[in-house]
């Protein structure tokens, strides 16, 4: 065996291992600050989808571009609070608008009283039908009365008998 072959790998291995370990430790030390910074940063959260829309002075200023085409629609509130509109693109290419108006508390009571006291009105057709039915009922009652009391003479108004 040649002398140089007596060199065992172990002589080199510790250096290599040490070197590697030192290097690895150095790497860790270098990486750690970044890790710490990342830990300090809050974990990324998924953004919560917000409502589309805006507060407007007049609903006439709203354009088609203000309404998103994702199907969720947009809410538009009038600045004075008198009306809210929800606009949405429909499948046929038009914008559908839903209007909401507030019912104030003092008006709510008035509305219910008005509804309670409102006279019942029927259409002319319904009235004509009811009158026809009533006259039919009257005729049948008269027939029944005559059938029950056939001998009873009917006194005509204005007669002396």
């Amino acid at each position: 065996m040649l002398p140089y072959q007596n060199y065992s790998m172990n002589n080199y291995a510790p250096f290599q291992q040490q070197g590697f370990q030192n290097g690895y430790q150095q790497m860790q030390q270098n990486v750690n600050p970044y890790l710490d910074r990342m830990n300090q940063v809050q974990p990324m959260q998924q953004p919560v989808p917000g409502l589309a829309g805006k507060i407007v002075e007049d609903f006439g200023t709203i354009t088609a571009n203000d309404v998103p085409m994702d199907g969720n629609g947009a809410i538009f509130v009038k600045r004075d609070g008198s009306e809210i509109q929800i606009r949405n693109w429909s499948a046929n290419g038009t914008i559908a608008t839903s209007r909401f108006k507030p019912v104030l508390e003092d008006q709510a009571g008035k509305l219910s009283n008005e509804l309670v006291n409102a006279p019942v009105r029927l259409s002319d057709d319904v009235v004509a039908m009811l009158q026809e039915n009533f006259s039919g009922i009257n005729e049948r009652l008269d027939k029944l009365e005559r059938a029950i009391k056939p001998s009873t003479k009917r006194k005509e108004p204005g007669s002396d008998e």
């Binding site: 354009t63 571009n65 085409m69 994702d70 199907g71 693109w89 429909s90 499948a91 290419g93 038009t94």
Partner: protein, 76 residues
Amino acid sequence: MNNPLQIMQMVKNPQAFIQNMMNNNQIMQNPIINNAMQMYQKGDMEGLNKLAENMCKENNTTMEQMKNQIMKQLGM
């Protein structure tokens, strides 16, 4: 669809473009596109025309003006 490259792709190979769109779930969630695709598949050109007219009306424009704008973008 403001990207001129996408418009060129659509003009060159409309079938592939439409197929790509149909495979995209996010796009197909859009009710207008969904309806348009269904009408296209059924061959309902009248319905597609009406859809385009309605959209133009909502944007205060006409089909003719829209067509001219697109042609301008394509440099024709």
